[in-house]
Subunit: 247 residues, 2 copies
Amino acid sequence: MNNELRIIAIPSIPLIKKDDKLGEIILNACRKNKIEIDENDVLVIVQKVISKAEGATVNLNDIKPSSEAIELSRKTGRDAELCQVYIDESRRILGTKGKVIITEHKLGYICTSAGVDRSNVGPRDERIVSLLPKNPDKSARDIREYIKKQTDNKIAVIISDSFGKPDREGCIGVAIGIAGIAPIEIQQKKDLFGNEKNNTIARIDELAAAASILVGQSDEKFPAVLIKGAEYTIDEQADIKKILIPQ
Amino acid sequence: MNNELRIIAIPSIPLIKKDDKLGEIILNACRKNKIEIDENDVLVIVQKVISKAEGATVNLNDIKPSSEAIELSRKTGRDAELCQVYIDESRRILGTKGKVIITEHKLGYICTSAGVDRSNVGPRDERIVSLLPKNPDKSARDIREYIKKQTDNKIAVIISDSFGKPDREGCIGVAIGIAGIAPIEIQQKKDLFGNEKNNTIARIDELAAAASILVGQSDEKFPAVLIKGAEYTIDEQADIKKILIPQ
């Protein structure tokens, strides 16, 4: 058991735009800053840059709100066009509380605003918002395979977003896509007194939360973080759905 | 903005028993292992050792279950005595799902089993369980003041526990008591395009989650973790209640 983790925010990542090759950009930034990517490192990448590279954005000027969206807008005080995007991106609207709209995203995540976000996408008057990536596990897998090809090292990749919680204030980093790491860490162990104890640990969420301490949420410009020294179970068929509890 | 965190599990902490002076034990373990405690470091300590040092444990043999506890036991398959302790430690039982009992702890945390835990407390046939500390903020404050007195450095202290979430499998480290750190981190900033953005971040939970990557949940023997390089807002009147959303 390792007793130290290093969590390194990768500097020098430029503003990401559609069709940018993120794996290549991140690897170049690591090399430029003499950050080695070693076997079993965990690379956490924020959703926003994945969405921008994959073109998962929408211009609100292109959206025509339905009557359902207009009703949601009236109830919450948010733009009707934005409400339409929330509806389009969700399986269900679970509830509202003031301006907060709680959704079940079409991929199963429980989050506010269906993961739709206006920040760091473009000047506000352009009215561009980012959506969650279409298939975050695939986004993670592609970057993992690129790093493997280039460095010969197998790492874990986590795509993270920042979600609120119903019982606690404030956002926290959460995993929305994974590659090379088990969605749930199962520890079948004896405790200090020899009692048997089976634990299930949301290690991918712990790693996403740890990375988000450095990412910052606004202008910090650290969309990718490398974690060294974390213990986790390697999973070549990692599937984020397995951590989600259907509501 | 710092771009690296170090997260160090403090070795050589012995099994904790009632009336042990935790601040002294942790500081000695740091010195023995040449781990410096610097100004603004964050010390995360797991609830279990706080509860043991403070004697926040109960012997199930001393508990006489009420009819409500017997009913909860019948419904969930758990010991009636244990169910009585859950009831005693809770404001309300919020619901059950198989063996899982979701509670609003009397201090306001939403968690399973009112934070009551049997592991690492003693041999199972002794039937001793640990409760959450009576006043986790005070527990954190006492250790913070001890470290300040001994090293002249002001640090943040977080008491953590491992909670499940209703929408995701697996447990994750969560803050249940704090000293010297704001319960919610507020970032009033402009994003990369100059748009204004106010974020509230559960930094204390991010730090608790990061620490729990190293703590392990069973026999890892790392009940205290030191985090170096984290940005946070110092708060001399830190109050964990401010992160809790009343249900």
